[in-house]
Symmetry: none
Subunit: 223 residues, 2 copies
């Protein structure tokens, strides 16, 4: 998942960014509204986290401009606590949710997930957050992959990749799509990282390694 964080306080931004990255998400950061809007013109995001208080262009204006440009990306707005007027204004200008500062990290993550789920129309009954495929289970809360009951050690990128593959069962994924989702790359396809990681996963998945099939000229498919 790709997230754009627009927040001027660097220490806060850094804290949030690290936390989101630890969740396995790719985070881009912009200091101010103008920069944020520019970045959004270059590439798309799954969720935008937008501070209301920004130097120059305020969060409300950023949101307004996004909507004026028909950008449908869900926006989570960070507002001062108990400021009903700000919350109301934010919603009117097209924000999808708000979170009063200071917030609990758990809640931030829950809301980002909720927004993403809602915008993608993800099935809502995925209750336990586990991806299953026969004897292959990836528990995204524990960040643990089990192969026939045995725990397999994975690195961060490997985890993201297997989660993406299993979540897209039976769909072919292009290298670009994978790069974008796991690595956050939006250009520079002159790398073979994806191939290398697919190889590692195949090895680690043991008997299930064959489930990752190569779609020549297109990418990879799991299922």
């Amino acid at each position: 998942m790709n997230i754009l964080l627009i927040e001027d306080e660097l220490r806060v931004a850094d804290f949030v960014r690290r936390g989101l990255k630890a969740e396995g998400w790719v985070v881009e950061h912009a200091d101010d509204g103008e920069t944020g809007l520019e970045i959004m013109q270059d590439r798309g995001f799954d969720v935008v986290i937008l501070d209301l208080m920004l130097p120059g262009l305020s969060g409300q204006h950023v949101c307004q401009k996004m909507r004026a440009r028909s950008n449908p990306t869900p926006v989570l707005m960070l507002t001062a606590l108990d400021s009903t007027d700000e919350r109301v204004a934010g919603l009117r200008l097209g924000a999808d949710d708000y979170l009063p500062k200071p917030f609990d990290f758990d809640e931030l993550i829950a809301r980002v997930q909720a927004l993403h789920r809602r915008s993608t129309g993800y099935a809502c009954c995925q209750s336990d957050g586990k991806l299953r495929h026969q004897g292959l289970i990836y528990d995204s809360a524990a960040m643990v992959l089990t192969v026939d009951g045995r725990i397999v050690e994975l690195s961060a990128k490997e985890r993201e990749l297997i989660a993406l593959l299993m979540a897209s069962e039976n769909k072919a994924l292009s290298r670009e799509r994978i790069l974008n989702s796991v690595w956050g790359t939006h250009e520079d396809p002159m790398t073979n990282v994806v191939d290398v990681y697919i190889g590692r996963l195949r090895k680690k998945l043991g008997p299930y390694g064959k489930r990752i099939t190569t779609v020549r000229g297109a990418g990879y498919r799991f299922g």
Copy 2:
């Protein structure tokens, strides 16, 4: 926790009530606004879940009347999806949060907890019982950790950390989440306190120290 649910559709009400009860909460149900207001005059609640579309007195009016009576109970409003006007109106009339229908149960629970936490200013995960994991027992009332029957002396931060870890068994927790939850930090990621404390705990837990595993690139997991 005591919750008042005001919802006219019986099927929805039943569904929600069961789920909330499963969380261990006490749920009262009212079919319509008037009944809801009456019940609230008799007794207090920690959170009110209020459907917007009600026969007779609408959700907005209920909320308005509550506030007119200086009732500060946090209100979570259930609105139709994408109805910005309703959301805005709800907030203006004193709702504290809204949740667009259809919603995920997890999200409902998360928001109810968040509202409660905010209004009481307490950390939510303080289940007053004991956290057990094999020979490891943390008694959160006595604030005592026992390892195979032997009491282990812990400092305040160490206690909070082990309590958090044990309460989140088998969930990976990022350093930022831990910092946020135990240290109350909202910024300043330039510290390695978490690592230091994890190290101390591992030592003090003796044979159970290995239960705290490092999830590289993500944080720590207990279990």
